[in-house]
């Protein structure tokens, strides 16, 4: 019984927090929203801190659930991201009628992602995935009085239901060929049987929807634009990051026998994602749409790292997701502050931002430098390790395409930086007072970008976890 609690510690803690929040919501006393939000943020800090204290590994529920040091670390990354997003959303939720419901839904999706990460069984994986994606649709609709928000939720639920359908069909075909949904059984039985391969390709299509790799990316820009900024950042960092973790480990362990087949699929997805993401990002006017396409092209780079299929490339993917979390959340923190105060979301509105808000400008500039991969920031090392991992297969054409795409991406990231620092604007965003919670979030992100880049310990720690 005690091993049960130790192994499920992170999941049980999250469930406990969800129930505490439900009790707060159900209580007859009308709580002050400021108190409630501070309380929730303290709980999330406790949740993050507690994740570092336990080290037990093992399996539960008849091999359906597994946990080890790497999975714990990945869950800690997701916890950190959720805490940062919660801090950024503080001012928005203060005015929102349903702040507690926001956390109930968000933590439910996080719980689903934890079970998805820890699954060692296709059914457990699917249940976790559904728990992670259904409340997200409700979250996308959380700007209750905006029609765009409902549209985003509708598009998200439609496309994610379609993706789930493909995934389930793939799972059923694999089950039909193997006779088991256990990862270890599938790893042994994986063969080039056409029906099995067909199921496997459908499975990859399901993965591709969640990480918005290119042929499956069509929902991304509309959902990112319509959803509230906090939910957009949650979708682009936490939801995508958890799926990337799962995809990397599933491809390199469960389907290791089919390496030749999935290497080609992943390489094609990577090239398409980079090129389409970059070319569309150049033309965007809305900054949330812009970041949607930029995140698609980042996924292309991550897929190159994934294609290496060894320990180095696996740790490079986890490392890059950590770096990407800091960079992207720093950018979203600035967007959130500006959109909350003035409602402005167009790139043209960011012209001349340096004159009125130098601090915000620097945060956004460093975040964009990190996303583009300019040396002193962590983004450079993240991309370097990804390309190194991808190059281990000896396919240098892929690396050349990636390098060219990094140059293209530099153009559109620098376009925003130029707009902020150099362009003149008659009606710039007025000087904004930033409250403590976004400030903390931005400070943590900035520290993360610098520290994970300069100190090599982060990458080496992930590498040691995988060994």
């Amino acid at each position: 019984m005690s091993i049960f609690f130790l192994l499920l510690q992170q999941e049980l803690l999250l469930t406990a927090i969800i129930f505490v929040l439900l009790f707060v919501k159900l209580s007859t006393k009308q709580w002050n929203s400021q108190t409630v939000l501070s309380f929730v943020n303290i709980l999330l800090v406790v949740n993050l801190a507690a994740g570092f204290f336990f080290k037990e590994k093992g399996t539960l529920f008849g091999d359906m659930f597994q946990t080890n040091d790497l999975l714990r670390f990945e869950k800690n990354i997701l916890n950190l991201g959720t805490l940062l997003i919660s801090l950024q959303a503080y001012n928005w939720l203060l005015k929102h009628k349903h702040a507690i419901e926001f956390y109930l839904l968000m933590l439910s999706t996080l719980l689903g992602m934890f079970f998805m990460l820890s699954s060692s069984n296709l059914l457990m994986f699917y249940v976790g995935l559904e728990l992670a994606s259904i409340p997200l649709a409700a979250l996308a609709n959380f700007d209750l009085d905006k029609k765009r928000s409902s549209e985003a939720a509708m598009k998200y639920i439609m496309s994610s239901a379609f993706a789930s359908g493909l995934l389930l069909f793939g799972i059923s075909l694999i089950y039909g060929m193997v006779g088991s949904v256990n990862f270890t059984d599938i790893a042994v039985a994986a063969s080039e049987n056409p029906l099995f391969l067909f199921g496997f390709i459908l499975l990859i299509a399901g993965f591709g929807f969640k990480i918005s790799a290119v042929p499956f990316h069509l929902w991304t820009a509309d959902v990112y634009e319509g959803a509230p900024v906090a939910v957009t950042s949650y979708l682009s960092v936490i939801s995508k990051g958890s799926m990337l973790f799962v995809m990397t480990s599933v491809l390199s362990t469960v389907f290791a026998n089919l390496l030749f087949q999935w290497y080609n699929i992943v390489a094609v997805l990577a090239v398409l994602s980079m090129i389409v993401g970059n070319l569309f990002a150049i033309r965007q006017q809305n900054i949330k749409r812009f970041l949607a396409f930029s995140s698609i092209s980042q996924v292309g780079f991550i897929l190159i790292g994934m294609s290496g299929a060894n320990i180095e490339s696996h740790s490079s993917v986890v490392y890059f997701v950590l770096v990407y979390l800091f960079s992207n959340l720093a950018a979203f923190a600035v967007i959130n502050v500006i959109s909350e105060a003035s409602g402005k979301e167009n790139i043209d509105d960011y012209k001349g931002l340096y004159k009125t808000n130098p601090a915000l400008t620097w945060v956004l500039a460093i975040a964009l430098f990190s996303l583009a991969g300019i040396p002193p920031t962590a983004g450079f090392f993240g991309k370097f390790f990804l390309l190194l991992g991808g190059a281990s297969k000896g396919n240098y054409l892929l690396i050349i395409v990636a390098a060219l795409n990094m140059v293209i991406s530099l153009y559109y990231y620098l376009r925003i930086i130029k707009a902020m620092f150099m362009d003149a604007n008659e009606t710039p965003v007025e000087k904004l007072a930033i409250s403590w919670s976004p400030k903390i979030s931005m400070a943590v992100c900035m520290a993360g970008i610098v520290v994970t880049g300069i100190i090599s310990g982060a990458y080496e720690y992930i590498y040691s976890l995988l060994k």
Partner: protein, 116 residues
């Protein structure tokens, strides 16, 4: 077996569905008139727009019903396995009920059971 069976299955599926449509086209005698285009042929003609709004309460009740429906379905396999698993099964089903009950309580508190 293998690839050949998969291709045969796909071709057979296409041939079967296309054949059914084709045969129906050839055999039946097609007529076109105004009555055919009505939603209910030889029914009462509709009056006014058919896009009427209905009370959102219906779907809330359906959702709440679904919670207990699923709960009951879960109880059957549980009841079969309960004796073998022992006390742990009882604890687990109580936790399961508790979680569902909290959801129900939330819905009740939100006034989902009031018919407006």
């Amino acid at each position: 077996m293998g690839a050949a069976s998969l291709i045969v299955l796909i071709l057979a599926a296409i041939a079967f569905s296309a054949g059914a449509i084709l045969i129906a086209k050839v055999v039946t005698k097609a007529t076109k008139n105004k009555q055919k285009a009505e939603p209910y042929e030889s029914g009462i003609p509709t009056r006014g727009p058919s896009w009427v709004q209905f009370n959102v309460g219906y779907y809330l009740f359906a959702l709440l019903f679904l919670i207990f429906d699923v709960e009951l379905i879960f109880l059957y396999p549980w009841a079969v396995a309960a004796k073998k698993v022992g006390l742990l099964a009882l604890v687990e089903i109580i936790i399961f009920f508790f979680i569902l009950f909290m959801g129900f309580l939330y819905a009740h508190k939100k006034g989902a059971l009031k018919w407006k």
